[in-house]
Amino acid sequence: MAMMAMTIRNSASRRTMMSRPIFGSRSMSSWWKNVEPAPKDPILGVTEAFLADPSPDKVNVGVGAYRDDNGKPVVLDCVREAERRIAGTSFMEYLPMGGSVKMVEETLKLAYGDNSQFIKDKRIAAVQSLSGTGACRLFADFQKRFCPASQIYIPVPTWSNHHNIWRDAQVPQKTYHYYHPETKGLDFKGLMDDVKNAPEGSFFLLHACAHNPTGVDPTEEQWREISQLFKAKKHFAFFDMAYQGFASGDPARDAKSIRIFLEDGHHIGISQSYAKNMGLYGQRVGCLSVLCEDEKQAVTVKSQLQQLARPMYSNPPLHGAQIVSTILGDPELKSLWLKEVKIMADRIIGMRTTLRDSLEKLGSPLSWEHIGMFCYSGLTPEQVDRLTSEYHIYMTRNGRISMAGVTTGNVGYLANAIHEVTKSS
């Protein structure tokens, strides 16, 4: 992709250096001749293809958006109630560049703990962001601006957009071992070796819980070891937490990796998203936080984060933030939310179990030890293509299955199809 962009750049600059076409021809040719069609996004393109498919049997296990057991999108009750309270009555004045203060406060409590000393000491620089993507992008731009010689270590595999984000921020990327295809589990040794071999003070991207796309997470004990090694190497840990509450059903438990790092004294960065756990996908609500030395530094860092946001979008959107503050600021609504998150997580865990049981009954050799919305099926791109063309089952070509798209209605069909395309391999 980088090569293609380079070619386009070179040909465009050659074009500008040549003599310009005369005015008469301008009206017939286009400025945009050198613009090639961009490749379809590997994740969002799947849903496009799914929507276009007329088959009644079609199944979408592509994008990670939660579906109920009827395969329908869900708007949480707590969200509906919050919207009722705010509809038609709210002002629409610009939020500050850093976003809704109330929403950020509540969001930090989720990640750092309700009684976090860091929050009390005001040591966290935090801004409302455009969901997880926006938080990662702001951090990547911030890293580029203030640690220009740094690189980012990204796990293999990871959410594909991570690569786009750090690339567009012009931060060079390196990878570290994560997924072990043979065991379909964590390549812990490979991971630790890469952490050890990275130059001191490197930046690492970690998935706090429910690794996307594999669904494979380190155990608590492994997280502790990772944290100790990070300490020895003075690495910077940046956590992408897109599934808090969604992985185990318990937000505190899902934040364990972060809490371990905080206990061990790391100054970390965190991207948080409400897309999945509050079902606010399209509202684009999230938060970027950076734990600093002291309050003064937190104020300074926050000012610089705002400086990066201003020429990108000026200030973040209000509606989603209002929903979040309304819910988290009201004990009853918050408790309703926690219940609903657990229901979603439980349904997914239940579906995962059912899918595994169905596959085992069919005699499939695949194993299903994973957690969260996704799992890496181990299917090859060719097998995925067969699933789509023969069975109208849509997923990303890396074999990632979004469990949220599995229902009691389609789990049998799905298991059967997977078994059919994999039994000979």
Partner: protein, 453 residues
Amino acid sequence: MASSMLSLGSTSLLPREINKDKLKLGPSGSNPFLRTKSLSRVTMSVSVKPSRFEGITMAPPDPILGVSEAFKADTNELKLNLGVGAYRTEELQPYVLNVVKKAENLMLERGDNKEYLPIEGLAAFNKATAELLFGAGHPVIKEQKVATIQGLSGTGSLRLAAALIERYFPGAKVLISAPTWGNHKNIFNDAKVPWSEYRYYDPKTIGLDFEGMIEDIKEAPEGSFILLHGCAHNPTGIDPTPEQWVKIADVVQEKNHIPFFDVAYQGFASGSLDEDAASVRLFAERGMEFFVAQSYSKNLGLYAERIGAINVVCSSADAATRVKSQLKRIARPMYSNPPVHGARIVANVVGDATMFGEWKAEMEMMAGRIKTVRQRLYDSLVSKDKSGKDWSFILKQIGMFSFTGLNKAQSDNMTNKWHVYMTKDGRISLAGLSMAKCEYLADAIIDSCHNVS
């Protein structure tokens, strides 16, 4: 803003290098900076190792958004906020349009879901916004020559276009008016697109330096991007006349430049959506390829919902398809897909004949209030000022803002002595002015103009 960005870049030293001296580790690895804090149950050792971010300095307050913050902190009763361009009622209250409340209630009743929008945004919104701009049934729309992507209001839409320019026109320059909205420079700086200024504001006449503008556009290297304000120029309020727009289009075409319109006030300037789109439509008539960034912050009062669009008019449907795909590629690593709420509101309002009519009426009302207050300010100045100074420039200006002609020191006087908050370039937002306060403001302006240099 540009200069502050440059200085920031030079202070970003590798933090590790600065702090090597500060970190003194004891032989057993114990850290003399170690502090122990007791939390609820866990005693944590917080190692105060030197931060990587040691070298980071405080960013300057935003020159526009910072004004509101200063205003909030002021306890004086007479204070007046003429800083940020957000519409206020006569009672100086923020205003949520009735038609917006209606749309929101409709959306709530319908129980719309909150799924991700596609990267390019809500299709119904994209259709509506292009039609509002060019007119439904316009050839560029019928022939599918416009690539339209929902963006994060005006700022986000400008940024997408800037990134496209950087990627496909490396080295090409953007010309921006002197002066222009403060954030334009930030956007092009952060997108790494070089820019320079064309003359625009003439302080002597407090009007348009048209000859200077044409000269500078002619001088620019062929194929430059020319940033034009579609209507209601921000910050001056000074727009070219229809005849002047024709000449601008001539010289832009002659030099093979690419026009880049920022349309943040359609409907808000004159009160008429069509009238305010005249400049853009003129260029479309010419068959030119160009950019248009739109915002619904002001005209639908949707400030906080960040709703706007970037439109790229191309000479063919094929080019438009390709351009759209590349705009998506820029948006994905920025925010993945845009926020749905504001887009739905716009689509609902424009898509329903009754609500659309109501919107037009509310917009006329807002634009009308501003015109009335503008007249009242002029009348107050003329009756109070005995110096014979010609204040008619105030009536010639259009839109939310007025360039008063006050310099920085005079603007400071407005704030320090009169508690009138405005930006240092002499811009006042008439949207924040009530009839009741016109006389007070006139006094302040007259004092600052004549007694401060």
